[in-house]
Subunit: 262 residues, 2 copies
Amino acid sequence: MAGTDKQQPMLAEGPAIILVEPQLGENIGMVARAMANFGLAELRLVNPRDGWPNEKAQAAASRADHIIDAVTTFDTAADAIADLNFVYATTARPRDNFKPVRGPVEASMELRNRFSADQKTGILFGRERWGLTNEEVSLADEIVTFPVNPAFASLNIAQAVLLMSYEWMKTGDQAVRPPQAQMIPAPKEHIENLMSYLDRVLDERGYFRTDDKKPKMMDNLRALFTRPGFSIEELAVLRGVFSSLEKFSPWKPRGSGAPERD
Amino acid sequence: MAGTDKQQPMLAEGPAIILVEPQLGENIGMVARAMANFGLAELRLVNPRDGWPNEKAQAAASRADHIIDAVTTFDTAADAIADLNFVYATTARPRDNFKPVRGPVEASMELRNRFSADQKTGILFGRERWGLTNEEVSLADEIVTFPVNPAFASLNIAQAVLLMSYEWMKTGDQAVRPPQAQMIPAPKEHIENLMSYLDRVLDERGYFRTDDKKPKMMDNLRALFTRPGFSIEELAVLRGVFSSLEKFSPWKPRGSGAPERD
């Protein structure tokens, strides 16, 4: 899926991603890369097991250096979110507490609204093995949880960050919607021209068999070539195929003088 | 984010995920895991570099054994989608062809609607380094591409599968559009038969002019006849038109002995 365009401005804004006691450098790197993919920039680490900086994280981050180089570290989750106005805690399932529980779409819209209002926001992600403590969850304003298959819920931390980053980008004005290669159906006269042409060349070849069958068969042909909404360009390719089949005989090196054209 | 609940029924349905020439077993395993997280089940591999089965894939799949054990392998992308009615190709960016380009949300809704109408669907994912060939893209009905940061578009294959699987699962919550009285696109093998036929009869007539132009022209033809999602019945009518043009000369009462057939 590589396709980086260095001409484009680097998106780098939005909520801080906060990893609490991450163990594996690879995961930190993959988180940075997921953030870069979807325009997030600020990564905070709480007490990473192998210290910081971490070579494995740098390697796994691929070229997300702008994120790795700007990482800040903290001793506790409370320290890491001290300057933020609004914080989500991610959990694998709703916990028994009084916080609202959101899905990723709803949470991302909330984050986008607060971002637009110049609030500082963040999302807390827990340890690889057992997530956030109840105390850490209690630091957050709301909970976000993912709509996974209840029988197989094993999102890793980089995947969870990827989904939140992706939803964040989707909420943005600058979210890059794939340009619609919108097909414009050809004006109907192009279809009529095609039908006149087919009427002639098929009639010449006995395609319609009997005169009374012809109107229904023409209706079927018109339906066939109208239904797809062919563009002018597509109709031109189609016409080229018909012409080739109609005008040219198979070229056979028999030297028998088989006619090139009818 | 662990939180698997063995009491819950395992979701296992929806579009087939098709990986074309995947190189790393770890990626295949991560793909299986992403699929399991979001309730997909059917994984097809086209010509995996290290053969199949693959120990590294099994290890990386964690406990997604039901997916790994059911993997099927194929020699070509065309073979892998032969029985499917509707197929997406994933690309890093829109290509220069006639296919509609969708985002993941829109594509997932389309897949969900077709699933509800008992159609068989699939999503093609390309090689780790350079994706799908133009010819492989031309096999698909539509393209899906991801709204990534244009300046940092480096989704790996497991992440791309994760996002599509996640969007697929999200569409399950929503009211699905009432099934439309829509045409069921013919299984892909019907398109392949048509292409083989056209390859032969057009080649015989010098349609492709030069050998180096032929692959691109064939891609365009495949795009032209794939895009409308022709039903089996429509393809039969189309084939009848081609046959008539190809086999029969205009009947002209000149008595010149023009051949009735080639």
